[in-house]
Symmetry: C2
């Protein structure tokens, strides 16, 4: 299997450059929310591309929630100012992205163990394989705000050439996975109450509520990459997202 987090190709399709150009227009305020973009034929002419190619760019803009397409009316700019921040529906690291305070320090530890029954299922592992267990505590100004338990097949770390003695590089690998794109997830959100160990780690009273996010990440090939649980302090997190419907 190829390295999951390989770099992307440098070759950029035409419709992507068109998309990026129009994104920049919107960022620069060349067209403001409520404005109508020039007609597709006009734009295609300007960019010297076919209308089909231009429409691929429009599709990307629409998926980003930057424009709305309306037959007979035109492509209208939506209120895009606040779209900078990614919502929960985009893969990233929620425990970092949604803390109301900035995360300024993380403490990472790593251990290894045979897969539990559950991990054999969700990570599709043989009983003879090895699972890396990565515990990460997230701090803001020396106060713990969140805690994550990450379960990853050792195989992935191995193929990623990660120095297992260097916690910074382990954490960097994990973050790179989360932001690598081309991953999708099964995600569950619940409220739990802090028990002994968690209460101690997060320095909160036992029984205090926590937001927990449980998740499995897969490649586009449907290969499990990792499973993790994130515990987020109740008062320190506000999770935002964009919901949509066809």
């Amino acid at each position: 299997m190829k390295n999951v987090i390989q770099e992307k190709n440098v070759k950029i399709p035409l419709y992507v450059t068109v998309y990026e150009t129009i994104c920049q227009w919107l960022k620069d305020g060349k067209y403001k929310p409520g404005d109508k973009l020039p007609g597709e034929n006009v734009l295609a002419e300007q960019f010297q591309v076919s209308r089909g190619t231009l429409r691929q760019a429009m599709l990307l803009l629409q998926e980003d929630g930057l424009i709305g397409n309306h037959q007979g009316k035109g492509n209208i700019v939506l209120s895009n100012q606040d779209l900078q921040r990614n919502g929960l529906e985009k893969v990233g690291n929620p425990i970092v992205d949604f803390c109301v305070e900035p995360i300024d320090r993380v403490v990472t530890t790593i251990g290894f163990q045979p897969p539990t029954q559950k991990h054999q299922e969700v990570l599709k592992l043989r009983p003879s394989s090895i699972v890396a267990v990565i515990d990460i505590t997230y701090f803001h100004q020396d106060s713990p705000v969140g805690f994550a338990m990450v379960y990853m097949p050792h195989e992935f770390l191995d193929k990623g050439n990660v120095d297992l003695e260097d916690m910074d590089s382990v954490y960097a690998f994990y973050m790179k996975l989360l932001s690598s794109g081309s991953l999708y997830s099964d995600t569950r959100l619940r409220i739990v109450h802090a028990r002994e160990r968690l209460a101690e780690i997060l320095a909160i009273p036992e029984g205090d509520p926590l937001l927990i996010l449980e998740e499995e990440l897969y490649t586009e090939y449907d290969t499990p990459v990792l499973s993790h649980k994130m515990y987020m302090g109740a008062d320190l997190y506000e999770i935002s997202l964009k919901r949509k419907s066809k």
Copy 2:
């Protein structure tokens, strides 16, 4: 302005019928997770459509997370039989969709008031307009499990021809809005602690944690439709979603 929840056109594009046919194939198990679909040229031939049209159907399948597209390899079926249930990232009614117990009764009340400063902003209303305040309590076996406060411009209810004396029809209108499609949202999730009134409504001790979802819904024209807050009992809710990235 046109009625937001108007029925869709009856005319169905070719690529949608192709998409629906292949969806059915997957549901029937004609192709199982891991299988490769026939090549696009073959499928286009079978459906008697051009390859471009067929590729539009493939795009829909991919957006649903049902298949993965891979240059040179093929279109592979993913293991998403369980995608029947919509995740939070799709607009619907979370307070109904994610309760671990089935909701078997709702109690709806309605009142009217001038818009607060905040509603003037988020719903883009004039101070002289009227806001409908709809309170909805959700029950499972006569126990309250969730509570929602909905703020909607009176104008919408009026144009929707809703009988404001008939609570069932008010609730039906609200649910129809949520499932009408063509809406998108700004959504925030947090933990709050039940205060007096909420604790009483949900029949829980004061101070107990609740999951709260605050949201504004907009049409594709960027017109605010409604703003609501949903309070969900801590132990009764598990919210699932599908995260993705390009």
